[in-house]
Symmetry: C2
C-alpha cells in the first residue's frame, strides 16, 4: 500500500525542511498573480528560515522565477504528494495553510514543528482557505467564515464618537412597534408610521438637533446616525421623521428667528405641531429659484398673501402633507411690487378638527413605488392670508414701515445662503440610501453564507453561494465601498455641523457625494436582489422594500444629474459660483487661464507598474483619482473657453459639454470620498483593524479606477498590463476579504432583531 | 440702422453664392467631429455646385482643413452675420438648415434660390435642428419632433409577418377588462387576472400554439407576440397566461403523448383545466437535475407515488399554484429501485370543490416585489398516488411489464432533450422583459417631449427635457438596443419554431440572449424611472410596476448568471456538451488544441481608424464583437487547459475562470444579436426606413463596443483616439435620432389606449 502511494512521486528530491513549503508553492503557482513585492515576502521568509539548507533555499528561490516557472510536471507532483498525505484541511485554524502543510509533511517525516516563516508568508500574501480548498483532493473541514475580526469592534470604529447615544437608540428600537412587517394599504401604513414618529418624539429623539432650550441636544451628527438607524426599521419611518424634524423643524431652526423658535420649535420636536416642507412645485422640480408661488406683502394689514398662480404651480410631493397642521412654504416674496426672491413662510393648513383652512387645497399623491407610509401630497394656495410674523426672516425682514431689509444685500447670495441650510438633509438622504444598501448587503451575504448551490463533484458538499467567485465579485467590492462611503458621510456631517456661514464648499461636496452614494445604493440593492434569486423577490425578505423605498433617493433632495452639474460648476468656479445658479457667465470669467498649468505626462514605467505594493498603496488610488479629476476639470474648462471664443452662446457651450460636466462631478466626488476615507483610516490606532480598513480602501479604490479604466487607458494613465492587473486584484481582494465578510456586515452594527429576513436567519 | 448691423462684419468677402454656406460652416465648426468621409461629402457637394465660382470653391474648401481650421474671429463673424440677418429658424421645414440658410442669405442678397447641394450636405451629415438651434441668437420656431418617419410603417416592418393577427389582438385588447389600474391587494389582483386569462382563452388566444385539433393554430411565433402584448397590459397577466398555456400546456404538448393531448390539451387551452408547472424546488433553484421529489413506480397497482422527501425539497414559486386543479410535476423517476432521471408527471391537486387531495400541501408564497396578480405557491407531496398513465412519456415509458424504456438511451441526452422544450418559454421571458422596456421608454420619452426644464436665458422658452444631451444619452441608445433585441427575438422564435429535435444550439443561443436582454430591460426601466424624476415614482405612471414586475425576469426561467455560464460551456464544447450538465470533462476533451490558430494581430491603422464611414459600418461592429467573442473563447480554453496541466481539478479550474466564462457568455450573445439584427436589416427594401434601421444598428453597435472599451483597449483592438471617437459618435448618433424619437417609440406598436400613464399624455 505504502509503495503504491509513491509510485509516481520523487519525494526523495525534497528535504524534510523543504516539504512544508510544497503546499504553499502549489497554491502560489495555481495562480499567476505573483508580483515583485510578493516574491520579496516569500524570499525573505525563506532566507530567514534556519531549518532550510542553502541547497533548499536555492531550490525554493528557483521556483520563484516568473520567467521560468516550475514545470507542469513538477506542480503535478506536488499535487500528488499533497493528496497522498491524506491530510485534512481545517479552515478554522488560525493559520490554516501552515497547519495543513505541517500535516502533509508530518505524514512523510514526522516533526510537528511550527514554521513561523510560513505563517509570515500566509499572512502577508493574504492566502485564504477559499483560495485553495478545492485545489487538493483532500478532506476539508469547512468554516463558513472566520472570527478573526469582531463585528462589534468594527462598529465601534465606524460609529465613534457617537456610539453611546447610538447604542441607547438601538435599545429603544427594541420596542415592538418597530418590528418590520408587510404593509400594502397606504392608510394603515401611514397610521403606523405616524405613531412611530410620535413615540420617537416622546422619547426626545426628534429634537436631538435642536438647541437645549427646545428639548434638544444640538447634536446634528447623532441625529444623522439616528436617521440611518430608522432606515434599518423602515424607509417610510425615516422619511416621515426627516420631514417633520429635519425639513419642517429645520426650516424653523435655520431660517427663522427667536420668535419662531420660541413659538414652534418645542412643539415640533414633540410632534404637538406636525408640519411639512413645501418647496418643490409640479412645474419646477429642480429649479427652486423658478418657483411660482408668491407671498405678497400687504402693508395695511401687515400680512402676507400666499398664492398659487397657475395650474401646475402647486406644491408637489410634499411629505407629511396629509397629517400636517402647518407648512413651511417657499415663495417669491413680493414687497411693494418688487420681487425680493425666494423666502419661506409658515402657513397654517388645518384647524384643530383637521379641516383645511379656506383657500387651501390638498390632494393625496396616491400610491408610489415605495415609501407608502409617507403621506405625500400636492398643495394649492388661493390668496391665503397670514400675518407677516410668519415670514421665516433670519435672512430677510420686513420692517415696521413695510420696507424689506436683509443683511445679505446680494439677492443671489441670500438665496444660496438659505438653500445652504438644506445641506444637512442631503447628507441624511445619502446616509439613508447607504443604510438601505447596508441592510440589503447584510441579508444577501448572510443568505450566501448558508445557501448551497450545485457542485459537480459528488463527494464534496455543495458549495456555499459565497464561495463562488462571481458571487464574491458582485457583493464584496460593494461592502468595501459601503465602508468608504460610511466614513465619508460621517466626515461630511461633522464638517457641516462645524462649518461657518458660507457653506458653498461643503454644499458642492455634498451635492456630489449625495449623487454617487445614492446611485451606489440603487445598484447595490439591485445586485443584492439578484444575488438572492427568487428569495430576494419575496417581500418577507426585505430587499424588495429596500429597493423600492430608496429608489427615489437618486431624485429627491436634488436630482443626481442636476446635482453633479452643480458640483462641476462649483469646481470650475473654485466654489465661488452660487450653486443652483443659472448664471454661467460669472463662472466663465473665472476659468479663463486658471488651468494653464499642464498636467505632467505619465511615465510609461508608472503606467505599467503592476506590483502589489504599488497597486494596494493609497497613494496610487489617490493619484489616479486626482489625475482624473484634474484632467476632467482642465479639459472641461478648455472646451467651454474654445466654444466661447468661436462666438457660441454660453448656454449652448454648457449644453455641449453637459455629459463632460457629469463626469467631472463624479470624478470630483470620487477623489473626495477616497481622500476622506484614507484620512479616517490613517487616524486609527495601528493594528489588525487598521490593516483591514486599508485593505477595504484598496478594494474600493481599485474598483472605482477599474470602472473608469476606459478613460484611464485612453489618457495613457494606465497601460494595458496595469489595467488587467487591476481587474485581477479586484477579484483577488474580494477573495481575501471573503472569510471576513460576516464580520464586515456585522460591523455595520445593525441590531440583530432588525435583520428580520427569513433567508438571513 | 442698416449700417449699425454691419459695423463689424466684412460680408463683402463673401459672394452671393457663398453666403448660404455660412450657416453650415458655422454649425460644422461648432463641433470638432468632422471625419474624412464627411469632409468628402461636403467637398463633393461644393464641387457640384455650379453657382459657386472657382474662388468660392477654393475658399470653402480651405475651411475644411482640420489641421488649419478657420480662425475664431472668422467663425465669430459668421455668427454675427447670421444673427444680424434676423432670420427665423423653423424646425418643421423638411430641410430646416438649408431653409434657414436661404433666409439668411436672402436678407443680404435676395435670390430665393433653393440649393440642392446644401440639402445633400444636410442629409448626409445628419445635421439636426437640435444640433444647432441654440447656436444662433435668432428666433426659433420649435418642433417637438419630426414626422419624417411613420410609427405604423416601422411597426409593420418590425412585426411582419404576424401583423394581421397582432392587429386583431390589439383590437381585442380594447375590452375594458384590460384597462390598467393600481392593484395593491393580491387577492383582488389575482381574481382579476384569472378573469382576464379566461377571457383570452374563450377567444382562442391561449391555444394559439397548440395543434388545430385542440383548438389552436400551431403558431408559436404569433403566440410569442401575443405574450409580448400582454406585458403592455400587465405583467401578472402575461406571466399567468404563460404559466397556464405555455408551461403547463406546453409540458403536455411537448413531453406528453397523444393520450395526454387528447385528454388535457383542449381543456387547458380553454382554461377548463387550470394547471401549473412544478419544477423548481426550494433547495434546488438552478439545479433541475438535482431535484429531490420522487415518482416511484409500483407495478402491482400500475401507479406512481409522488413524494417530497425533505423539508426544503418542496416545489417553490409555482405560478398558478392556488388556482390549479393539476400540476405537471418534475420528479426523479424510480423504476424497479433504479433512478431513471428527471421525468414530468401530471398530478391532480384539487377536486371539483377546490379542496386539495390527500397528501398535498399548498402554501401561498405571499407578497412579492411585483407580479402580485400571480398566485405563486409552494407544494409538498406526501406519498401521493397517481396512475402510471399520468407520466408524460414522450421520451420515456414504463411498459406493461413494468420495464422502463426510452428511445434516447443516454440519460443525459434524454434529460436535455426534455429541457430543450423549455426554450420557447425562455424566449417569451426575454420578449416580456423587452416589452416592459419598450413601454417604459415610450412613457419616459413622451414625457420628455412635453416637459420643460429650466434654462438660463430669459428670452427663450425652457427646454424640453428631450433636448438635453444627458437625457438623449440616457434614453436614445436604449431605444436603439430595444430595436436590435426585438428583431433578434423574432428571429430566435422563428428558428426555435423551425428547429429539429436537437435543440442544443438554439438552447445555447437563447440562454445567452435571455440573459443580456432581461438585464437590458432592468437597466432600461431603471433609467426611465430616474429620467421621469418624481413622476416616475408614482404608480399611476406605470414605470414603477414595470420595474417591479420585470425585475424577476433576470432570475426565473434560468438565473442569468447560471445561463451565461451554460452559454459559455456550449461555446467551448462547440454545442456538443449537454447544457445544464455538471460534467466538465467531456467539454475539456473537446477544447484541447481546437483554438490553436492565433488571432491576427490588429493593424495600428485599423485600431485608430476614426472615419465616420468606418465607424458606422456594420462590418466594423461585427468584426469588433466577433473579435471579442473569439478571443474570450480562445483565452478561456487556454486558461482551463493550463490549470488542468498543472493537476488542478477541473471543477476548480472552472471556478477559477468563472468570471471569465460570464464575459464569454455575454460576448457570445452580443455578437449573435448584432449579426441577426444586420441580417434582418439587410433583408429590408432599400429606402429611408432601411437607412434608419442601419443608423439604429450603428448606435447599438457602438454603444455595446463602448461598454467594453476597457477590454478592447487592453487588447490593442482600439487605440485611444478611436475609443474616444466611438464615445463621441454615440452622443452624435443619439442627437441625430432625437427628432425621430417619437416615431421610434410609436414604431413599437403599443396600442395607444395601453400607454395610459398621465405623464405621457
Amino acid at each position: 500500500m505504502y509503495l503504491l502511494y509513491f509510485h509516481c512521486i520523487n519525494i526523495q528530491n525534497y528535504s524534510n525542511a523543504l516539504l512544508p513549503y510544497i503546499p504553499f508553492f502549489y497554491v502560489i503557482w495555481s495562480d499567476d498573480l505573483l508580483s515583485a513585492s510578493e516574491i520579496d515576502v516569500v524570499k525573505t521568509a525563506i532566507g530567514e528560515d534556519d531549518s532550510l539548507s542553502n541547497l533548499d533555499k536555492e531550490q525554493l528561490c528557483s521556483w520563484l522565477n516568473k520567467n521560468h516557472p516550475p514545470k507542469n510536471e513538477e506542480i503535478k507532483n506536488w499535487q500528488q504528494l499533497i493528496t497522498n498525505s491524506g491530510a485534512k484541511l481545517v479552515e478554522s485554524e488560525t493559520y490554516p495553510l501552515e497547519a495543513f502543510s505541517r500535516k502533509v509533511s508530518d505524514f512523510y517525516f514526522e516533526s510537528h514543528r511550527v514554521n513561523e516563516n510560513l505563517r509570515t508568508i500566509e499572512l502577508n500574501l493574504g492566502i485564504q482557505p477559499n483560495h485553495y480548498n478545492h485545489l487538493f483532493h483532500v478532506e476539508v473541514i469547512h468554516q463558513a467564515y472566520s472570527n478573526q475580526y469582531s463585528g462589534s469592534a468594527i462598529d465601534a470604529i465606524l460609529n465613534a464618537p457617537h456610539l453611546t447615544i447610538i447604542n441607547q437608540f438601538r435599545e429603544f428600537l427594541k420596542n415592538l412597534i418597530f418590528k418590520w412587517d408587510i404593509h400594502r394599504d397606504k392608510e394603515l401604513a401611514r397610521k403606523l408610521v405616524l405613531k412611530q414618529v410620535q413615540l420617537l418624539a416622546s422619547d426626545g429623539w426628534g429634537a436631538l438637533a435642536y438647541p437645549n432650550a427646545y428639548g434638544g441636544k444640538q447634536d446634528i451628527e447623532s441625529y444623522a446616525s439616528i436617521f440611518e438607524h430608522l432606515m434599518f426599521v423602515d424607509g417610510s419611518l425615516a422619511i416621515k421623521f426627516g420631514v417633520q424634524f429635519g425639513l419642517f423643524g429645520g426650516s424653523i431652526q435655520n431660517l427663522g428667528s427667536t420668535y419662531h423658535h420660541d413659538n414652534y420649535l418645542k412643539d415640533t420636536g414633540e410632534t404637538k405641531l406636525l408640519g411639512c416642507f413645501a418647496m418643490t412645485e409640479t412645474g419646477h422640480g429642480s429649479n427652486v429659484r423658478g418657483i411660482k408661488t408668491t407671498a405678497t406683502y400687504i402693508h395695511e394689514t401687515r400680512s402676507l398673501v400666499i398664492h398659487t398662480p397657475g395650474k401646475s404651480d402647486n406644491k408637489e410631493y410634499i411629505g407629511n402633507a396629509l397629517d400636517s397642521k402647518m407648512a413651511s412654504v417657499f415663495t417669491q416674496l413680493i414687497v411693494k411690487g418688487k420681487n425680493k426672491g425666494v423666502h419661506a413662510v409658515l402657513v397654517p393648513l388645518r384647524n384643530e378638527k383637521h379641516e383645511t383652512f379656506k383657500g387651501i387645497t390638498i390632494e393625496d399623491n396616491g400610491y408610489k413605488l415605495g415609501l407608502n407610509g409617507v403621506d405625500n401630497g400636492k398643495i394649492w394656495f388661493n390668496q391665503v392670508k397670514v400675518p407677516v410674523e410668519n415670514l421665516l426672516d433670519k435672512y430677510g425682514q420686513i420692517d415696521r414701515n413695510g420696507n424689506y431689509q436683509s443683511e445679505i444685500e446680494n439677492p443671489n447670495k441670500r438665496f444660496f445662503t438659505m438653500l445652504g441650510t438644506l445641506v444637512g438633509g442631503r447628507i441624511c438622504v445619502a446616509k439613508g440610501a447607504l443604510a438601505g444598501a447596508k441592510i440589503a448587503l447584510t441579508i444577501s451575504i448572510k443568505h450566501a453564507l448558508k445557501r448551497r448551490q450545485f457542485n459537480d463533484s459528488i463527494k464534496v458538499q455543495e458549495d456555499l453561494l459565497m464561495d463562488y467567485p462571481t458571487h464574491q465579485l458582485r457583493l464584496i467590492p460593494k461592502v468595501a465601498s459601503s465602508y468608504v462611503y460610511h466614513a465619508v458621510l460621517q466626515r461630511a456631517m461633522h464638517d457641516y455641523a462645524n462649518s461657518t456661514e458660507d457653506k458653498r464648499k461643503i454644499e458642492t461636496q455634498v451635492a456630489g457625494l449625495k449623487s454617487i452614494i445614492t446611485w451606489f445604493a440603487t445598484d447595490t440593492i439591485q445586485e443584492c436582489r439578484e444575488a438572492c434569486g427568487g428569495k430576494g423577490y419575496l417581500l418577507e425578505n426585505r430587499i424588495a422594500d429596500l429597493k423600492n423605498d430608496t429608489d427615489i433617493f437618486t431624485t429627491f433632495e436634488g436630482d443626481n444629474t442636476v446635482l453633479l452639474q452643480l458640483a462641476a460648476k462649483g469646481v470650475l468656479s473654485d466654489f465661488k459660483s452660487e450653486l443652483n445658479s443659472g448664471g454661467f457667465v460669472s463662472v466663465l470669467k473665472l476659468i479663463g487661464g486658471r488651468f494653464a498649468d499642464k498636467l505632467a505626462t505619465i511615465n510609461p514605467a508608472y503606467s505599467n507598474k503592476v506590483d502589489k505594493a504599488h497597486l494596494y498603496n493609497p497613494k496610487f488610488h489617490l493619484h489616479a483619482l486626482d489625475f482624473r479629476f484634474r484632467r476632467l476639470t482642465d479639459s472641461a474648462a478648455m472646451r467651454i473657453r474654445n466654444y466661447i471664443k468661436k462666438g457660441i452662446p454660453s448656454y449652448q457651450a454648457f449644453l455641449k459639454t453637459q455629459t463632460h460636466l457629469l463626469e467631472l462631478g463624479r470624478g470630483y466626488s470620487e477623489v473626495l470620498a477616497m481622500k476622506w476615507y484614507y484620512e479616517f483610516v490613517s487616524s486609527q490606532e495601528e493594528g489588525p483593524y487598521k490593516s483591514l480598513l486599508y485593505k477595504i480602501g484598496a478594494l474600493h479604490g481599485l474598483s472605482i479606477i477599474r470602472k473608469d479604466a476606459t478613460w484611464y487607458l485612453e489618457q495613457g494613465y494606465l497601460g494595458s498590463t496595469k489595467s488587467k492587473a487591476i481587474r485581477q486584484r479586484v477579484e483577488r481582494l474580494s477573495t481575501e476579504l471573503r472569510p471576513h465578510i460576516n464580520s464586515l456586515v456585522n460591523g455595520y452594527g445593525i441590531p440583530e432583531h432588525l435583520v428580520s429576513a427569513p433567508i438571513s436567519n
